[in-house]
Symmetry: C2
Subunit: 426 residues, 2 copies
């Protein structure tokens, strides 16, 4: 139905014949949970940004010649935004998965020197290029499963040298891969082996050596802390995040995952951009989180993978007016998956979200958790043209048809960056 392009201009792209489903920016400050759904829809972008989007007929009206992509009546959504990942590790920790299946808890494994500290010893021995190559492969998988932007944390280095190495690997990966990376400094992920008997010295190292260098070299946008009584307690977390904020790194926090340890309150006090996990956060705090503009990032994949005692109170958070986000928490210990669609399935089944809510949490609200809500997370005029064409007809199918990949094409900054191949079939 659309005239063939007369000339090819790679800086502009029209996607037409699509079933559009996208969250839309809120107009009154309260989260907007209503998707905009249009069929037949089209999206036109120039230089990586959306210039027109909506009813196909209106979008194509008087359009200049441009590259065209027929979505074939398929679902078109914003690219997924994974706002909490830990991709800079070297080897897997499949052996701990076996230990957990056999009854050990995550905390027991950590106390015995496993968990994060295992990955720290492992990363410190690894060759930088070998780690980079694995990070690149992980980015391929993120992209293949619908994700166009990830937040990525350091936190398996835990020395100045290896934290810088981790953040530099992210910088190099970002320069080479279509997936956009938002780096977060997580030096306060755990107390490394060599500081177990002098943990205060490690906190000083984070505050006085790591944070200044990371900030000065602009290697991270955010700083994060694993706030838990047996890792960094609320007082320590507050001190670290204050120092980060003073250096120009906006705070994020792993809060109340295993116990109610005060993490959400630290987030409120500091005006953190997000508070992540929140399984054990007292619901009485939800209103204060909202007033402080803290985005709750829920990570049901980790609860699933470590067989957690409870999931976060997502419905109560939504009822309290919070712009709930979800993320994979991709990491080798507590959530070994790059698939946000699978996390959407868990959000529906375990957090009782509708598929439409799950999509909003994995796109626009996830963008808010990165302070990028004005640039990514929805298909609206002026935003970056990051999109997914799904081999599906409705948003419901994404979480419903689970654990198999339904992505058909990936668009990043207005260019097709991945297309489902015709895998060799005899």
């Amino acid at each position: 139905m659309i005239a063939k392009a007369i000339t090819t201009n790679t800086e502009s792209l029209l996607i037409y014949n699509a079933r559009l489903a996208t969250p839309v920016a809120s107009t009154d400050g309260a989260p907007n949970w209503q998707l905009s759904e249009i069929f037949p829809a089209a999206l036109y972008c120039e230089n990586g940004h959306i210039v027109r989007v909506g009813k196909e007929q209106e979008v194509v009206e008087g359009l200049p010649a441009c590259e065209q992509l027929d979505a074939g009546k398929r679902l078109l959504t914003p690219g997924l935004v994974d706002c909490h990942t830990h991709p800079v590790f070297f080897n897997l920790r499949a052996h701990e998965f076996v230990q957990r299946v056999q009854g050990k808890t995550y905390k027991e494994i950590s106390a015995a020197g496993g968990g994060i500290r295992y990955s720290v010893r492992d990363l410190r021995q690894a060759d930088t290029d070998a780690v980079l190559s694995r990070v690149m492969r992980r980015l391929d998988t993120f992209l293949e499963y619908g994700t166009t932007t990830i937040e990525a944390k350091s936190g398996y280095g835990l020395s100045l040298e290896h934290e810088l190495m981790s953040l530099e690997i992210l910088q190099q990966a970002a320069a080479r891969h279509a997936v956009e990376i938002v780096p977060t400094f997580l030096g306060a992920h755990e107390v490394p082996d060599e500081f177990r008997e002098r943990r205060y010295d490690y906190i000083d190292l984070v505050i006085h050596e790591m944070i200044p260098v990371v900030a000065q070299r602009q290697l991270a946008q955010f700083a994060d802390v694993f706030c838990e009584d047996h890792v960094f307690n609320a007082a320590e977390s507050r001190r670290i995040l204050h120092a980060a904020l003073a250096a120009g790194l906006r705070p994020k926090i792993h809060a109340d995952q295993l116990t109610a340890s005060g993490g959400a309150e630290v987030a409120i006090e500091l005006g953190a951009v997000s508070a992540d996990h929140l399984e054990f956060t007292p619901p009485a705090l939800f209103d204060r989180l909202r007033k402080s503009g803290v985005v709750p990032v829920l990570l049901p994949g980790a609860d699933f993978f470590i067989r957690a005692a409870k999931y976060a109170e997502a419905r109560a958070m939504i009822a309290a007016g919070l712009p709930v986000a979800i993320a994979t928490d991709f990491n080798p210990g507590t959530c070994m998956t790059e698939s946000l669609p699978m996390i959407m399935t868990l959000a529906c089944l375990q957090l009782r979200m509708t598929p439409a809510e799950a999509l909003t949490t994995a796109t626009l609200h996830a963008a808010h958790a990165l302070a990028m809500g004005n640039r990514i997370g929805s298909l609206e005029v002026g935003k970056q043209a990051d999109a997914v064409i799904w081999d599906a007809e409705s948003v419901e199918e994404i979480p419903y048809h689970f654990a198999v990949n339904r992505v058909q094409q990936m668009i990043k900054k207005g260019r097709v960056v991945w297309r489902r191949g015709l895998d060799k079939m005899n």
Copy 2:
């Protein structure tokens, strides 16, 4: 390290440089839960069957010229066997997923005319070729996620005409697709709309019209019943399966999924090849199941997807000496996934199996659940050469790295039938 093939003989294939992990046939009748793991290993097959398998050096010794495949130090396992699937439906039931998320139970949805009966109305209106084309696509997905053989049930026709149509679609699909299909007649899946007020007439129809025709035309190997008080109770199930057995269709049974409704006892009495689900089966019956040679087929994906009250007692079954199998239960209502690797993840997390146990349940024991344990399910001499090369180094990685596809190549009857493509990446 291996000399290049001098001539190409497509009827023989050597896979070398592999990390072999396979269950091995039991020698004493009791299930053998110990995998055979060898590296570097090789497998040589001729005319679709395994002629040599084991240590690479021993396999290649004096081997004739043949086609060769370097596994690149990757994991090599038997092709997965999915011994319980319902792939012959037309449209999805994503709307019911949304209803369940919002609090409705599976039983409430069924009682309101949804569930199986929705799919029956839908299939009866569908064009045969359109259904076949969707079944073929589903087979592609099974294959892509590691499965080389599926058991496939009818059961969304529920009239003579549409049950035959369903089984004929399976026959046509089997003739065109690499995935091997073992057909099961499931006319007793539900009482269709037009028989709700005269359910005994429907049972008579199944017994006196459907079973004889299905058996005579050899359209199925097995007959199955959904035994549950609100569907077909134990007495009705017994009657139907007796008729099936007399006609030459070996019994299978959906037993004790939602309540302890006597299904496992029916399986024991009839010597069913398998009893499937078993969430509510009294553990006191486990020993009798074993003595009757009934294979328990556990379906944790359905429990996950419908948020079931409980999972089956897998550890107690293993302790009782039962050859536990797992399957996807792929169907549009209660488990919409073709991925057995995801079911292995659930088997580890929810049924407390080790990854090695999960592999055995999804291969050799699943083959036993189809009375095919002598032909498929393990990589042993004389068996069919159905195998998976995984982009992984250990069996643990399959359930651990969840919800993303780790399959690198699929081999069916000694031929490479699927290879992970280089999807287009800009």
